[in-house]
């Protein structure tokens, strides 16, 4: 029996190696949230990010990015301010006074550059050249002058990982600005969509979608995108609303970390999307 097994093992060594390695790979999947793996990742990522950062610096050596950065920062501020003004137009003046909304344009913005990207239809991630040394913390939103890009999910001393909206692990509380319908925005590998929206909710093509007040991780009223044609399910009671993001994720290069945490206490509680790997 032993001889027979040995013979099989020798003849089919390649399959044995394959199965063992695949098991090891699968064993890593649930460890993604663990601190040990995070430490290894921190070391490996930190070392490699310097390489890509250097490449980035060489590529930008001849371009004057200061002025572009300043204008983009101004644009980002205007985008936030513009959203707030839209809100004001939609809300009644008295209610606005009572609620005394925070002036979101006053959010401190930290300019950052994308140093590398993971081109994947389901794992949309960006690596930016700002980290803990710049005051970046896990949970901070990342925007461009056009709108929301994503959320900082990992920070290292000099770099951070941003999970973009185009990541199937990213779920975001949003609302349709015109009718205040709130839902959860997700990514299915091709489209951004708000799932299970009752067909009684009237959604027009082109309605603006913004981050919601009920969200726990992002400040409200950050532009996300516009609605596309609603899709009805077979039952006809619920449907999906597809959303076209304002940000072109394929070309995003310069962005801003909004140095604000929606609720610092919640940061420790590890809510929904941050633990969604």
């Amino acid at each position: 029996m032993r001889k027979y097994l040995k013979k099989i093992l020798e003849e089919r060594r390649q399959y044995f190696v394959l199965v063992v390695l695949l098991f090891i790979s699968l064993a890593f999947l649930p460890l993604n949230k663990g601190e040990k793996l995070r430490n290894i990742k921190r070391y490996a990522f930190g070392t490699f990010a310097y390489l890509t950062y250097l490449e980035n610096q060489i590529a930008e050596f001849f371009t004057n990015t200061k002025e572009i950065e300043r204008l983009q920062k101004q644009n980002a501020h205007l985008m936030l301010e513009n959203n707030l003004l839209r809100e004001y137009a939609l809300e009644n003046r008295e209610l606005r006074k009572m609620l005394s909304f925070q002036d979101s344009s006053a959010y401190p913005l930290l300019p950052a550059k994308v140093i590398s990207k993971l081109i994947s239809s389901i794992q949309g991630n960006l690596i930016i050249d700002r980290g803990e040394n710049d005051g970046v913390k896990t949970g901070m939103p990342v925007i461009t002058p056009e709108g929301l890009v994503g959320l900082v999910v990992e920070t290292f001393s000099e770099f951070s990982i941003v999970r973009t909206l185009q990541n199937s692990n990213f779920k975001l509380a949003v609302e349709i600005q015109r009718n205040r319908f709130a839902g959860i925005l997700g990514w299915d590998g091709i489209n951004l969509f708000i799932k299970n929206v009752p067909t009684s909710v009237i959604v027009k093509e082109g309605d603006r979608v913004i981050t919601s007040d009920i969200g726990t991780l992002l400040p409200p009223q950050i532009s996300v995108g516009v609605t596309m044609k609603p899709e009805k399910t077979v039952s006809g009671l619920l449907g999906n609303i597809f959303v076209k993001p304002f940000v072109d994720f394929s070309s995003v290069k310069n962005l801003f970390v909004v140095k604000v945490l929606q609720n610092p206490k919640l940061n420790d509680v590890k809510l929904n999307l941050l633990s969604g790997e």
Partner: protein, 157 residues
């Protein structure tokens, strides 16, 4: 031997860097070439199936740690890719005289396998299989095969 390992390691890091920094500029939406697959195929055709599988595992391990993706998904995908590429290893013809179309076909197949498993394991929820296969895997595999043409031609010369 050591010199070969050193050169291969350097090429690997250069390609890894290019995959994360240059490839985003030449990608069409989510359709992007996989440069690491090219290296893996060339290595596996030279060293065989077992070593190809092991090298695939190592490539996936490093890729997962430096890319910010889900650790384990790349390892799984590259391990299977190394195994698949190594299947075409021929002891009597260690990759030198392999025909152009066969090599192109191997690169396409290995890339397809890699994209498919990487997408499946990285997704947090069940996705449409036709989307995963056609939109995420097939087109990127075609792109990878196309990108490999100049390299194959250069290698043959």
């Amino acid at each position: 031997m050591r010199k070969n390992i050193l050169i291969t390691t350097l090429i690997f890091f250069a390609l890894l860097s290019a995959q994360l920094y240059i490839v985003p500029f030449i990608s069409i939406g989510f359709i992007s070439p996989n440069l690491l697959i090219l290296l893996l195929v060339f290595i596996a055709l030279k060293v065989g199936q077992i070593r190809g599988t092991l090298i695939g595992f190592l490539i996936g391990l490093i890729f997962d740690f430096v890319s910010g993706g889900v650790v384990g998904s790349g390892m799984f995908a590259y391990t299977i890719s190394g195994f698949t590429a190594g299947y075409f290893f021929d002891e009597n013809n260690i990759g030198e005289d392999i025909s152009f179309t066969k090599l192109l076909g191997i690169i396409f197949l290995v890339s397809l396998v890699n994209n498919f498993f990487y997408t499946i394991l990285g997704a947090s929820e069940v996705m449409n299989m036709s989307i995963i296969f056609f939109e995420q895997s097939l087109f990127s595999a075609i792109y990878t095969a196309l990108i490999s043409i100049p390299l194959i031609v250069l290698r043959r010369r």
